[in-house]
């Protein structure tokens, strides 16, 4: 029962945070300069006063601010994420169409960076004063300092232009008409470079975290006991040190998951993948009635839910 109440509390908190994000969003959009009706009229190619008034009335722009806020909040609650006038599709459809590519990318990169980061970090912790350990940490620092979008472009140059190993752009080969297993392989091939690019940066973070956490855990009394018992160092590292060091890493990784979606914006752009990233970049330009808000909400919401879910999974009770 305590468990159920805990879930309920977390859910309630998530809903409150989401609600605040919606309001924050609304305020941000209000701050955007430019009359949205004028922008829309400009895009439609007509600009007489009557048409402008008609647009304002249609989208409730002539209403007082609190009424607009209400329309906005209730619209979002019913998954109405605005309408993209440039592409001629509702914001929600646009998001749903773009979301799978981003989820595939971030999911793969998340697992990849976590696994590689923990492996590299524990190797570095085991070789703490040796050159090989320092080398791992130096590499992690370089990966951390390298701009994601630059790695994306450079890996295209090396692996697809010069070596011709992997495809450079897109989600799958357009027009190849692959089905079944061939399609899966094709998508996977297109995923290798973007996922590795995105993973490198986060791998660097996890490597450093794992090393610190393991060195801390190695100071604990139970490790001394295990050593006194005469256990092999490799077993102590794996069973005693790593297990206890993992908890904070996984918690922090959950916190980072939202940031990874942010990184995916750059990777999507660098590899010209049809994710939600490029959408985020273009939408704000066309002012309030575009689906920026919905998309932004989704990002924030996803980040928040993941965080709570994650902490919950790692620290039950």
């Amino acid at each position: 029962m305590v468990y159920a109440r805990l879930i309920l509390m977390r859910l309630l908190k998530a809903v409150i945070v989401l609600f605040l994000i919606v309001i924050f969003n609304f305020l941000l959009i209000q701050l955007a300069s430019g009359d949205p009706a004028a922008i829309l009229a400009g895009e439609a190619g007509a600009a007489d006063q009557e048409f402008l008034d008609q647009l304002r009335e249609r989208f409730g722009l002539d209403q007082p601010m609190y009424v607009q806020l209400w329309h906005y909040v209730s619209g979002i609650a019913m998954l109405d994420f605005g309408y993209s006038y440039r592409l001629g599709v509702p914001g929600f459809d646009l998001l749903m169409e773009r979301l799978p590519a981003t989820l595939l990318l971030t999911g793969t990169a998340f697992v990849l960076s976590l696994v590689l980061g923990i492996v590299a970090g524990s190797m570095a912790a085991a070789r703490v004063k040796k050159p090989s350990g320092s080398l791992i940490m130096a590499l992690a620092l370089v990966f951390y300092a390298t701009p994601l979008f630059w790695v994306a472009l450079m890996s295209v140059v090396v692996f697809s232009v010069y070596l011709c190993w992997l495809p450079a752009y897109g989600l799958y080969t357009v027009g190849a008409g692959h089905t079944g297993l061939a399609l899966v392989l094709d998508v996977a091939k297109h995923l290798v470079l973007p996922a590795t690019t995105l993973a490198l940066f986060f791998m660097a973070i996890y490597t450093r975290m794992t090393r610190t956490s393991m060195l801390e855990a190695a100071q604990q009394d139970y490790v001394k006991t295990a050593r006194a018992k005469g256990l092999k160092p490799s077993i102590i590292q794996r069973r005693h040190v790593l297990r206890n060091a993992l908890l904070p890493i996984i918690t922090l990784a959950g916190l980072q998951a939202g940031q990874m979606v942010g990184g995916a914006i750059l990777t999507d752009t660098g590899f010209a993948r049809p994710g939600i990233g490029p959408l985020n970049v273009r939408s704000p330009w066309a002012a309030r009635l575009q689906p920026t808000g919905g998309h932004f909400l989704l990002l924030g919401g996803a980040g928040d839910c993941l965080q709570h879910h994650y902490r919950f999974g790692v620290q039950p009770g």
Binding site: F24, I29, P147, V157, L266, N280, V281, P284, G300
Partner: protein, 277 residues
């Protein structure tokens, strides 16, 4: 041992400092070596590196000098990194100090506020903020500051919480010093050295953020920056790899140098702390 000797013991930090000084020199020398605007078309486009005197790194898609852009870009990166970090500290340090010192409901409210900002992915928020405020140096600095203050606030709060019941604080209270005096003159000076280390790492992150924004076309349209150079060359990467390569190396080296310097500062300052206590 002097502060610098301790700093220099960390060889990586020394290398970082040298790289950083070179980049600062680049920024200062840019207007002297390349007095012309980096935006000016000076040669035929797509000139490869080392093919002609005066254009060691070639020219870009519009015939602009890449070397000139790189030098002028150094100034922009360093400026935005430093100013946005200072603004982030100006927001984060007071909030963290108040939350940590007073505790209770004030702490609760301030921390929920901080968490709210941490919930939204940094980069996505920065993009939206810059887009809404229109890209300019000011809006970029503000956007980076707004997304990077929460960790400062949390860190300062934790420091204040651990220090507020120390004996010297109790003594100051007993003498009748006001809360403001205690915060500013007793506790804050004792948290400065870790804040300096944190700030040096934040400058690095800010430079990465700025370059990413410019890469996406959200940079100040009047200023030549490294991120813009990479973004503008994205579509011609197959024909002219060097247009993206060199600015990327510049960003990488700057961020790396700042991180190394930060680590060195951490070693030097912590050593001092452990000796004095």
């Amino acid at each position: 041992m002097s502060f610098f000797a301790r700093f220099a013991q960390n060889r990586g930090a020394l290398i970082g400092l040298i790289i950083l000084l070179l980049i600062i020199a680049m920024a200062i020398l840019a207007p002297l070596l390349f007095p012309e605007s980096p935006w000016r078309m000076v040669q035929r486009p797509f000139l490869p590196p080392l093919s002609q005197d005066g254009f060691p790194l070639g020219t870009d898609t519009m015939g602009r000098n890449v070397a000139s852009g790189l030098m002028h870009g150094a100034w922009v990166s360093l400026l935005i990194g430093l100013v946005s970090t200072s603004v982030a500290l100006l927001i984060g340090v007071p909030l963290g100090a108040i939350a940590g010192y007073y505790g209770g409901i004030i702490d609760d409210i301030l921390m929920r506020f901080t968490e709210f900002f941490q919930t939204i992915p940094n980069f996505a928020l920065a993009i939206v903020l810059v887009a809404i405020m229109q890209p300019s140096i000011t809006s970029i600095v503000l956007a980076i500051a707004i997304v990077s203050w929460p960790p400062v606030a949390r860190f300062v709060r934790a420091e204040f919480m651990s220090l507020r019941h120390r004996e010297y604080v109790e003594a100051a209270r007993l003498v009748g010093q006001s809360n403001t005096t205690i915060i500013l003159r007793q506790i804050l000076p004792n948290t400065l050295s870790p804040i300096i280390v944190l700030a040096s790492l934040m400058v690095a992150t800010a430079i990465l953020l700025e370059s990413a924004l410019s890469f996406l076309g959200l940079g100040d349209p009047n200023v030549m920056s490294w991120g813009y150079m990479i973004g503008a060359a994205r579509t011609v990467i197959r024909q002219a790899w060097w247009l993206s390569f060199f600015p990327g190396v510049a960003i990488l080296l700057t961020v790396l140098a700042l991180n190394l310097v930060g680590e060195g500062l951490d070693d030097a300052l912590n050593h001092k702390l452990s000796r004095e206590r």
